[in-house]
């Protein structure tokens, strides 16, 4: 997930590869004639404009910093009259900082965002839907866009993902083969990669040596509402009814799903949230203390950039098939247009260039974007040897986006402690989920 990556920026990035990759990207994009690279060809606004961008602060992630610079080079060459003024904020506290900044009178034209925040932005009237702009813009063919890449709330499109990544299963291939086990990738080909196989994999891969635990699988993913929503779907249920008037997190299927995950923690197959996680430098995937995890391709590029392939081969597989389906959570980072910006036309021009031009897809490839371009007509890209294009193709038809509830921030605040209780296992799962469902329903009905 993009959010997880940015919270824990990769620090041990080798400098030389960065320069090499980045230089290649710049050469590829900047040296080419702009007309050939870009699909959006709106004429530049007539006067000098300062476009105010509330942006994610990528400090510490050299690849991201460089990609931003490259995009500015590209954009500056094409629109010399537009100056981009960025205000950067770290992922932690991103919404708090943004909304208090707006409350303090600051104005932005374009806002970086993630779907989970959107309900709060809409509720506070700081973003506007894109529908009118999309309908009026002859350069945009909406049929060319993947449905799953659109951020839609109450039937209105607010975001078109510039960074799309479904979740996959990643595993330590070398260790799996050393144990003589079938790879999840192979099991999937044989239609045997289901939840039981997942549990068996974790159990077989977990081990302990002199008090040092190697975990079979990381379940950080279960702590996120969006991921659980898709896994719930795969078990034939959901977290909410269709109109978000009743929380159904306590359905029989969801109770079974949580009990399934609880086994991992009870049997010490998965690390506790305070013990590490796939990105953790002490107990993580790259240092081989965790044998498998579920996350987006963007994380694995971090692992690669941490030189993990020198230690082991990375295996890649689709998500396990649930009792009902094998849907894949699609994580999206979008930009949103401000409802209070001073430069709406320039903002839309920027939006198109930054979100779904071919140039952007190429420039941001080193940070994991571009593998799943928003537009069907833009070719998917790969960068590393471990990328399994067959799996990418399979998942393309299985990816679903998550629609957040109207009170997502508060729902998440209720979900997290419930999830921690599930891990602790002191109360029955059914009891925890009944309480969560009751409080979440109250949340949306009392607004």
């Amino acid at each position: 997930v993009v959010e997880k990556i940015v919270e824990k920026p990769v620090e041990k990035i080798v400098e030389k590869p960065v320069e090499k990759i980045v230089t290649q990207q710049v050469e590829k994009v900047v040296e080419k004639p702009v007309e050939k690279v870009v699909t959006a060809t709106a004429p530049p606004p007539p006067k000098a404009i300062t476009l105010k961008l509330w942006d994610y602060d990528s400090t510490g992630d050299d690849f991201w910093v460089q990609a931003d610079k490259n995009f500015e080079l590209y954009y500056g060459a094409k629109y010399p009259n537009v100056k981009i003024e960025r205000t950067r904020a770290p992922w932690t506290g991103f919404t708090e900082k943004f909304l208090t900044s707006v409350a303090g009178g600051a104005k932005y034209d374009v806002i970086y965002g993630w779907g989970g925040w959107l309900p709060q932005f809409i509720e506070n009237k700081v973003v506007k839907p894109l529908d009118e702009l999309l309908a009026a813009d002859k350069e945009v063919d909406l049929k060319d866009f993947y449905e799953a890449g659109k951020e839609v709330i109450d039937g209105k499109v607010y975001g078109l993902g510039w960074f799309l990544t479904p979740f996959f299963v990643w595993y330590n291939k070398k260790a799996v083969l050393a144990k003589g086990l079938s790879e999840p990738r192979e099991l999937d080909k044989q239609a045997k990669w289901d939840y039981d196989a997942w549990y068996n994999f974790a159990k077989a891969m977990a081990s302990e040596d002199k008090g040092i635990r190697t975990f079979g699988f990381d379940l950080t993913v279960t702590g996120y509402v969006g991921d659980m929503a898709v896994m719930s779907k795969n078990w034939g249920s959901s977290l909410w009814d269709e109109k978000f008037t009743k929380c159904t997190v306590n359905s029989d299927e969801n109770v079974k799903l949580w009990e399934f995950f609880q086994k991992f923690y009870k049997e010490r197959l998965a690390p506790l949230p305070t013990e590490g996680g796939f990105l953790n430098e002490q107990v993580g995937f790259a240092n081989q203390r965790i044998m498998g995890c579920i996350t987006g391709a963007n994380y694995v590029r971090s692992a690669v950039q941490q030189k993990a392939p020198t230690n082991f081969d990375i295996g890649m597989a689709p998500m396990p098939k649930g009792p009902k389906s094998q849907a894949h959570m699609l994580y999206i980072n979008s930009f949103y247009l401000s409802s209070k910006g001073d430069n709406p036309d320039a903002a839309w021009t920027f939006y198109k260039e930054r979100s779904f031009s071919e140039a952007a897809a190429k420039i941001f490839l080193p940070i994991g974007a571009g593998r799943f371009p928003l537009r069907k007509s833009v070719k998917p890209q790969t960068q590393y040897a471990w990328e399994d294009t067959e799996t990418y193709d399979k998942v393309r038809s299985l990816m679903v986006s998550y629609t957040p509830s109207p009170k997502e921030a508060q729902f998440t605040a209720l979900y997290t402690p419930a999830w921690q209780e599930m891990i602790n296992g002191k109360r029955p799962v059914k009891e925890i989920l009944d309480q969560l469902a009751s409080e979440a329903t109250k949340l949306v009905t009392s607004r």
């Binding site: 709060q120 002490q282 402690p417 891990i423």
Partner: protein
Amino acid sequence: MLIPTTEVTDMRHGKKPRVGPLARREAWEGRFFVAPWLIGFVVFTVAPMIASLYFAFSQYSVLTPPQWIGLSNFGNMFTDDRLFRVSLYNTAYYVVIAVPINLVVAFLMAMLLQVPVHGINVYRTLFYLPVITPAVANALTWTLLFSGDFGIVNAVLRAAGLPTVNWLFEPSITKLVFVIIGLWGTGGSAIIFLAGLQNVPHVLYEASSIDGAGVWQRFWRITFPMMTPVIFFNLVLGIIGTFQIFTGAYIVTAGGPANATLFYVLYLYNNAFKFFKMGYASALAWVLFVIILAFTILQFRLARRWVYYEAEK
């Protein structure tokens, strides 16, 4: 502030005060010098307090104008908000355990720091250092120390052949971890105790020694009674401070596990800046203000029974 002495003198004799040009000038200078603080206090403390009182009776997200809803925020808080009760319980639990432990440890620390050994000033500085270390850096350090797998505390336990503990993921233990973390800042109270200890007249100790009092008697009959005003001061400040525990919980556990460290101010912060329920957060703030005020008044009442002020006798 400079106070014209002539004014005081004259008022004492019941005469109309005669204020000379020098006194008037001094008074204006006093007002001038106190003005920056006074303006800051009014603008940044009094005005926000008044505004928050209004918001407490409103539905207000900061980004849209407040709407008056009367007592609804308080009604919801006391009848319908489980997390309000949870956060209040967590905070009370922390106050009840942390404050006495902090006082005892700080007092003992101060007594040790009073012993005239070589390099005592270095020790005093070292014990005070955590107080001026940035709170975020402190919190991150404690996170690393108490981490379940790779934390230093568990590494020591493991090396000693003892079972490890999920310090930050076991609800019954995590609150106690915060009590331990709280001890890190006792240097502040210790310095105040130290100042108090150094003000206890030596003549009392000498006289009692001549009368045959032992160490224990000297402590209970002299040191402790003479120190009660300082203990009272640290107690009042300690309770006020611990009721407002925030930074550690925000960074180390974010209120977890399972709301075990969802302390009152953290819950208030979540409502204000995560959910943008500023009206509700204001109501929470005023309830906390009333609670702390009540505790402080109670302490002042009880202080008459156990605090000894030499000047009053």
